[in-house]
Amino acid sequence: MPDQIKLQHGATPWTPTRDAEVLETFVHYDFPRVGIVRQGDESYVFACLDEYGTVGLWGYAAVARDEVVTLRDSRDKLVGYFAATQNPITLALADADRGIFHSASFVRRAGGSFLDAAVDSILAALEELRKRQELSGAPG
């Protein structure tokens, strides 16, 4: 199984470490939102999954090079990638001022769906943020 992507707090979500490089951008709107980023020898799908006020929820999962062509050609395959992949998924919260400021990785549970795991992960992240009052005053 490929390595999980490494994320540095403070980094931009589409180049989550200093050595990361965007190989392809599939969706750009003011900034890259969906594409392929290379880190070391691995390639990863990166995607802004949603936005809440100023905070973006980003997802990452390793992708084989021969799958990239499929994702470039098929919007359905791209949008369904996180649900379909068996690779570990990493989620991150980021905003323009702080870059990535929270992340959580998980491996799909046997019989569990991506959605279940993602919801658990994000609820835990948001609870931690609430405790730290990092979202105080920010619209949800």
Binding site: E24, Y29, D30, V34, A47, D50, E51, R75, P139
Partner: protein, 125 residues
């Protein structure tokens, strides 16, 4: 990707934005390291704008999602250049650039090019 027709003055454009709290936010100045501001070719509905900008949320429109409309000619008359920047999953992506310092005055001029925004109100998502 097939070559798309050149932009002409009467072509409509859409900017996607979002309410942050009670304030409706549309980008009017690029952030550092951004070449310009993104727009969508044509006058597209809020749900269609969401599907293009946030494809993983396609089909889900939330309170606070918003769009505003302008035309290529209006932006050009205000001193901006408008270019197609098509992408594999966003063929109708446009970028607005300004040759000079993009300061608050230019930001206000950019805002002035747009019609009144349309926004999804709370309870209507």
């Amino acid at each position: 990707m097939a070559r798309l027709p050149d932009l002409v003055a009467h072509d409509g454009v859409t900017q996607y934005g979002r309410a942050q709290g009670r304030v409706l936010k549309f980008r009017c100045i690029p952030r550092e390291a951004e070449a310009g501001i993104s727009l969508i070719y044509g006058r597209v509905a809020i749900a269609d704008a969401v599907a293009l900008v946030l494809p993983f949320r396609a089909g889900v429109v939330r309170a606070g999602d918003a769009v505003r409309y302008s035309r290529v000619g209006r932006l050009r008359r205000a001193g901006f250049s408008v270019h197609r920047r098509p992408l594999p999953h966003f063929a109708d992506h446009l970028e607005v650039e300004f040759d000079g310092l993009w300061d608050d005055e230019v930001c206000a001029r950019f805002d002035g090019c747009f019609e009144r925004p349309h926004v999804v109100e709370v309870g209507h998502a």
